[in-house]
């Protein structure tokens, strides 16, 4: 198997190429995904290779994209629909919450809805309003949905392949700040990273550090600032269903935890993680779990954006605080 150094855009693009090659039912649709190759170039080359019936430039209508993708999925295709920016995904919530996520249950398995919604996610690229949001909560809270966010090119490819092959609807968020942030070795050809499983980026005994997406990279940076604390960094990869096991086992070991996310604090996934820790590792806890998060405000426009996003120092401070509680 050939291996190349790819950034996340390339890794996702490769996954799409390979899955479309493998399975003629996989189609890609969304605004500007065809001729333009996507505003981030994630779908580049697909139109040329697979033609306009499988790589579809849609009209500008997010509910329309997701709603028609549902019909396609029910019919037997596997649509991979792009929502151009996460801030426009709100328009898809109705079709996802009222339909995609329920079709299997509502029809008692007679129909199901194997589809992926891809969308860039999160801040850090100095973008327009609505282009820097972290919106996972809306989708995690919908029963029947799965939510995935990779933090590296390798995982992005492997998780996206899993998402495409998953028989249920998956919202696949792509931390846009990592799109071209770094390269790593990504094998060509088939491999998967399983949905529903977190992974340890570092092992440690003192503090469990939990994150995902771009914030997982910020956490890695933060570790350089807290050399004296032994930190176990967990990258959740899948936010729904949540990997309770990896969290619980780690916190039972360390007794301390810090959660880092871009979402506004209130009802960001951090809240649920704390609740699960409370339920499954209460007696092991030696300090309150600490959240380092976006604030309960709209993401500021670029001039003040850096103040909003958790950075390595804020994370490091939190680790120290929790470690010495």
């Amino acid at each position: 198997m050939r291996v190349a150094k790819l950034n996340m855009v390339q890794a996702i693009n490769l996954a799409l190429h390979e899955e479309m090659e493998r399975d003629p039912d996989v189609i890609v649709m969304g605004e500007d995904v065809g001729v333009d190759g996507g505003v981030f170039r994630v779908t580049e080359g697909l139109l040329n290779k697979f033609g306009s019936e499988r790589v579809i430039d849609t009209p500008l209508a997010e509910s329309g994209i997701v709603g028609t993708a549902i019909g396609m999925a029910v019919y037997g295709l596997k649509p991979v629909a792009e929502i151009q920016f996460e801030g426009f995904s709100y328009m898809t919530i109705d079709q996802l919450a009222a339909h995609a996520s329920r079709i299997r249950n509502r029809s008692r398995g007679t129909y199901h809805c194997p589809m992926v919604i891809r969308s860039p996610y999160g801040g850090g690229v100095r973008a327009l309003e609505h282009h820097s949001e972290a919106v996972a909560t809306f989708y995690i809270h919908i029963p029947g949905m799965k939510v995935v966010i990779p933090s590296s090119p390798y995982d992005a490819k492997g998780l996206l392949i899993s998402a495409i092959r998953d028989p249920d609807p998956v919202f696949f968020f792509e931390p846009k700040r990592l799109y071209r942030a770094f390269r790593e070795e990504v094998p060509e050809g088939e491999y998967t990273v399983p949905l529903g499983e977190g992974k340890k980026l570092t092992e440690g005994d003192d503090v469990t550090l939990i994150s995902w997406g771009a914030m997982a990279r910020v956490c890695l940076e933060a570790l350089k600032l807290v050399k004296d604390v032994s930190v176990e960094l967990i990258d959740l990869c899948t936010l729904s269903p949540l990997d309770d096991k990896i969290i619980t086992e780690s916190v039972r070991k360390t007794g301390r935890a810090v959660i880092v996310h871009e979402e506004p604090r209130t009802l960001g996934l951090g809240a649920e993680i704390i609740a699960r820790i409370n339920e499954k590792a209460f007696l092991y806890l030696e300090a309150p779990v600490k959240r380092v998060t976006g604030y309960d405000v709209p993401v500021p426009l670029p001039k003040l954006e850096d103040y909003y996003l958790p950075d390595a120092e804020r994370v490091a401070d939190a680790i120290k605080e929790v470690a010495t509680f």
Partner: protein, 359 residues
């Protein structure tokens, strides 16, 4: 010519059978006796199904239900134009079409008695009932589009009301259908009301059919109480769709004779005289007169039919009432594979139930 007319558009009206059962022979569809009888049978069964459902609801044996009294020609006439391999997307007032599609009425009662298990064993290509108004339109467009991509020569049909035309999803679905020329037939059951809102306050356009013009395809208004007109218009639209001609919007001009649902009190918003006027245009009566003229229908015929259908309904209700879903079904179908949080929650519930039954 700095100010000039650059575009002219128009909308047609179609009716074939008048309220006295007289047919316009130049437009009469070529249907054999057996089919005509089936259409009639299905319309009558639909009405009896509704009547029974309303009774059950009043007796506390069923929950909220929206009858289709007066709209049987629209639902049944259109569904008879379908091929079995066409895809069918109902809203929530299409029992006529569902019955025409061969869905056992027992399953319909199970659904309206409050169980998703109605869908276990449902004949395929008959999609689930959509409660959120107009949302199903996109699914029908997507399915038709998928058929096109997969080179399968079928069409999808989708039903919705006059009220549904105001929703964003109607617009987005119609527009996608126009752009991608999906083989979709849009059946708008214009029954003149969306709960209490009369059609004229739903939108300022003169017809609903003309809305198709905004998407570059044909819209037609048909007499929705005329099963032959509805059948013919739908048949033509389906054939056009299957042969690559793209979508059609059919506005079926009809009337809801009953309440919106069992929770609704229509005297709040409309006059009885209006209802009486529309009763004269009853779609079943009209078809009956037509069949009588053809020598098919007689009072005897009617009595036998009613007896047979009533028995069918009683049996279906009995079976539906006997049906008891298992509690695990709450959890079993949410995902293909049950994640750990659901397993835990199911175990929690089952433990609670067994504690309760023991205690």
């Amino acid at each position: 010519m700095p100010r000039k007319k650059i575009l002219e558009l128009s909308v047609d009206w179609l009716s074939i059978l008048d309220p006295e059962g007289n047919v316009d022979e130049s437009l009469e569809p070529d249907l054999d006796k057996g089919t005509l009888e089936k259409i009639y049978r299905t319309m009558v069964l639909t009405r009896l199904f509704d009547d029974k459902a309303l009774k059950l609801q009043r007796q506390g044996r069923m929950y909220t239900f929206g009858a289709s009294l007066g709209q049987e020609a629209t639902t049944v006439g259109s569904a008879f134009a379908l091929n079995p391999d066409d895809w069918f997307f109902p809203a929530f007032r299409e029992q006529g079409a569902q019955i025409a599609r061969g869905i056992p009425i027992k399953l319909l009662y199970i659904y309206w008695m409050g169980s998703e298990d109605a869908y276990i064993g449902m004949p395929l290509r008959n999609f689930t009932i959509a409660i959120p108004v107009s949302t199903q339109i996109l699914h029908a467009v997507g399915a038709a589009w998928a058929a096109k991509i997969k080179k399968e020569k079928i069409a999808s049909i989708v039903y919705f009301g006059d009220g549904a035309t105001s929703e964003g999803d109607f617009h987005e679905g119609m527009n996608f259908a126009g752009v991608f020329k999906t083989p979709t037939v849009f059946i708008c059951q214009n029954n003149q009301y969306a709960i209490s809102l009369p059609r004229e306050r739903q939108t300022a356009s003169k017809t609903l059919a003309q809305k198709a013009l905004a998407y570059g395809f044909e819209g037609i208004q048909v007499d929705g109480n005329d099963a032959l007109a509805v059948y013919s218009a739908t048949k033509a639209a389906l054939e056009k769709a299957r042969s690559g001609g793209g979508p059609t919007l059919i506005e079926c001009f009809t009337y809801r004779l009953g309440a919106h649902t069992t929770s609704d009190d229509p005297t709040k918003y409309r006059q009885m005289v209006e209802v009486e006027e529309w009763k004269k245009k009853d779609p079943i009566k009209r078809f009956q007169l037509y069949l009588a003229k053809k020598g098919i229908w007689s009072q005897d015929y009617e009595d036998k039919l009613i007896k047979e259908l009533t028995a069918e309904i009683e049996k279906a209700v009995e079976e539906a009432e006997a049906y008891k879903p298992g509690v695990e079904n709450i959890f079993k179908y949410v995902y293909a594979e049950m994640p750990s949080n659901l397993k835990e929650q199911m175990d929690e519930l089952l433990a609670y139930i067994s504690k309760k039954t023991e205690g």
